[in-house]
């Protein structure tokens, strides 16, 4: 077993390695032309739009994704071959994602409970009614107990960061208790 040499990595060599193995920061890596057609379940589909995006699921790979879209429908997902780390492949979860997006089991409209909490009985309401209800309750809670009686519960279901920052603005303005930490 060879003993390692302690001075194997002088700074210049490390810099050279970084230069050789990583592209310049902040420069687009798009190289491969986006396709215009695809095959879904054996049938060729023309006129698809392929859009580059990323997966924000909670495994941290943050895969480069090509989304195949036609007539407002997500037909399928593929890995972006130009992503230097995820190199054109996705996991089985993300490959099934179009079935999730267009699943009939999705919550389709705002619901209000009609029975006791946890009973699972709901009626359909409008967004206006839902927001009105929430606002009224929040004002009452703030009046009676103070603003810190509200807290959000938010974690990694969608791990992207924009949403949390916008909710953070609202919660800060309201004066809600602040959720911190990880688990």
């Amino acid at each position: 077993m060879a003993l390692k040499t302690k001075a194997a990595f002088p700074d210049e060599r490390v810099r050279q390695i970084i230069e050789d193995e990583t592209p310049r920061p902040a420069v687009s890596l798009a190289r491969t032309p986006l396709p215009k057609k695809t095959t879904v379940n054996g049938t060729t589909v023309e006129g698809v739009k392929v859009i580059k995006t990323a997966c924000s699921h909670n495994c941290y790979d943050t895969c480069g994704v090509l989304a195949y879209v036609k007539d407002g429908r997500l037909l399928k997902l593929e890995g972006d071959p130009d992503h230097p780390i995820t190199r054109g492949t996705l996991c089985v979860k993300t490959y099934t994602y179009p079935r999730r997006v267009h699943s009939d089991d999705r919550v389709k409209y705002p619901l209000m409970k009609t029975g006791k909490r946890g009973e699972g009985k709901f009626k359909r309401i409008s967004w206006d009614e839902a927001l009105d209800h929430i606002c009224k309750k929040l004002m009452r809670v703030r009046e009676k107990y103070g603003s810190e009686a509200l807290v959000e519960y938010c974690y990694s279901g969608n791990r992207e960061f924009l949403g949390k920052n916008v909710s953070g603005r609202f919660l800060n303005l309201f004066g809600a208790s602040k959720l911190v930490g990880s688990f």
Binding site: R24, L34, A54, P110
Partner: protein, 551 residues
């Protein structure tokens, strides 16, 4: 974090510690296998036989929660065999003499008896690691115990005393959070607009959410908005959580599916998936960025998350701060550095590498560290100082004690509930997500619990039997998978089954938080993400298993 495409090409030995790339982060597996093809030995430390462990040259399978002991045993063996890097220790570390003294008790014999890993195997891995340019890649496996913070410290000290830090292919990655928290995202600008009247409020620890809900008195917590999470499914002590939820004045849930949280909510709001809204997610494990664009419009009556918060803000009287017509892209520009050209990272361009000032490809190559001593603190002055301010377990030297709820940590409880339950991430779901997709369910199947043949036989359980996993907190009903590869005394129940399936592991778990700082019920005024730590010790749990009663 040293970036994967560099370290895997320059390393001479890999230890993957408590990390299952075959379930989460699968793209790293390809890099590991490429290194393996180059002839690099791969060691996996994991109580489970994961698919990654099955590809390892050596698999160390310690008893749950004994990782600290394993690392300390390796340190002692290396120091007493003079295989430590004296030059690196002298220049870059603080407290070596104290550490050397403290680990003396960890002879190979004792380490083997505590961890269950054969002594010669421990010695072999330690030698292999210390005599090469070696990488340790950590996951959260060993961190999710009540002694998890010390486990991580011990593993880091192992890297430091062998000089395997800050060189290409020789570092200790521990899943630090990356560019998302190094200033690349200007959260303050978005969350605290300059001219607004924003008061400091109390803080609630997410790893102690249930206890905080119950304990908060001044004021009590009366309203919770749950989104992008699953507090009933994913937090320990489900019964306690439901008891707290029953008392709320308002429980709102923004969701895509009827999850446990949605079922318990007063108002359920239809949420968009990540393909229907804007987003940005700097990875924790690599340094490339692609802006998430909405590829289709919101389906049904669903609303992008930020639109909900903006609309709520306008209706609650903060119109000024949530201008109508401000798009997701506008918000993103506010969140990103002003000199960052977002167009380069957005369809049809991108991805791009993030600016180096937020994520160095090879951190610590300079040998400078942001600690009080400017060195790697084998004896942690930071812990010592923090310990003067807050209660907790702040031993400045890494120390092993058994997890609070384990056979060694609570022998009395173990007499009644002798099996150590560990709860790992399922490969076909993201925690509780995807279970509703028939395609996934076909692969993932009904909830199951894995157990060793010896434990199964002792209970008259056969592979495929319906069983009841239980303790004094609750129970989970599932199918037994009797397997040769599972350690005796250990059972595996994946995380993330909805409570409504009857197989949720959190029904069995106690509402305790792990990490050095003791935060009581989880309500704080001050919190340091890096120092105070915090996770939920999902792997601190004792149970018993019996055959389900015949119907």
């Amino acid at each position: 974090m040293q970036t994967v495409e560099i370290w895997t090409r320059h390393t001479e030995c890999i230890i993957i510690w408590g990390c299952n790339y075959s379930a989460a982060g699968i793209h790293h597996l390809r890099y590991i296998l490429e290194a393996k093809e180059r002839g690099v030995p791969v060691v996996v430390v994991d109580s489970y036989v994961t698919a990654v462990a099955s590809k390892a040259d050596i698999h160390l399978q310690p008893l749950p929660g004994t990782d600290t002991a394993l690392a300390l045993g390796m340190i002692n063996y290396l120091v007493s065999s003079k295989l430590h890097d004296r030059d690196f220790i002298e220049r870059h570390t603080h407290g070596f003499e104290e550490l050397r003294e403290a680990v003396k008790e960890w002879t190979l014999k004792r380490t083997a008896s505590v961890t269950g890993v054969p002594a010669d195997k421990i010695a072999r891995v330690a030698e292999l690691y210390a005599t090469r340019h070696s990488m340790i890649e950590c996951g959260y496996g060993h961190q999710r115990y009540t002694n998890g913070h010390q486990a991580q410290r011990a593993v880091s000290c192992l890297a430091a005393i062998t000089g395997n830090v800050g060189k290409p292919g020789a570092h200790c990655n521990f899943m630090e959070v990356g560019a998302a928290y190094t200033g690349f995202l200007n959260s303050a600008r978005v969350q605290s607009p300059a001219n607004a009247d924003i008061k400091k409020t109390r803080l609630i620890s997410i790893s102690h959410f249930g206890p905080a809900l119950r304990a908060a008195g001044n004021p009590p917590i009366r309203a919770v908005i749950s989104w992008r999470g699953a507090l009933i499914t994913q937090q320990p002590d489900v019964k306690g959580m439901l008891e707290a939820i029953r008392k709320l004045d308002l429980f709102v849930c923004l969701e895509q599916f009827m999850t446990d949280d949605a079922r318990w909510a007063d108002i359920v709001l239809p949420a968009c998936t990540m393909f229907e809204q804007w987003g940005i997610h700097p990875s924790y494990r690599h340094q490339y960025l692609q802006v998430q664009v909405p590829v289709i419009g919101p389906l049904y009556e669903s609303m992008p998350d930020i639109d909900f918060w903006c609309e709520l803000g306008r209706r609650m009287g903060y119109k000024k701060y949530f201008p109508k017509g401000k798009t997701g892209l506008d918000w993103l520009k506010e969140l990103l550095p002003r000199d960052f050209d977002i167009k380069q990272a957005m369809h049809p361009k991108g991805p791009v590498r993030m600016p180096e000032r937020f994520c160095l490809p090879v951190p610590h190559m300079s040998g400078r560290f942001s600690t009080p001593t400017g060195k790697i603190e084998l004896f942690s002055v930071m812990y010592e100082e923090r310990g003067k301010k807050f209660p907790g377990e702040w031993s400045p030297l890494p120390v092993y004690y058994p997890p609070v709820e384990s056979r060694a940590g609570d022998p009395k409880r173990a007499r009644k509930y002798p099996l150590h339950l560990t709860s790992q991430h399922p490969p076909y779901r993201t925690h509780s997500q995807f279970y509703t997709i028939p395609y996934i369910y076909e692969i993932d199947g009904p909830p199951w619990v894995g157990m060793s043949r010896a434990d199964a036989e002792a209970r008259g359980i056969k592979d495929g039997d319906r069983v009841r996993v239980y303790n004094d907190r609750g129970e989970a009903h599932c199918t037994a998978r009797v397997r040769e590869h599972i350690l005796k005394g250990v059972v595996e129940l994946d995380s993330g089954y909805y409570v409504s399936t009857g197989a949720n592991a959190n029904m069995l778990m106690s509402p305790r938080a792990a990490g050095p700082r003791d935060v009581g019920a989880g309500i704080m005024q001050e919190y340091d993400f890096q120092l105070d730590g915090h996770t939920i010790p999902y792997n601190d749990c004792l149970v018993e298993i019996g055959k389900a009663e015949e119907v």
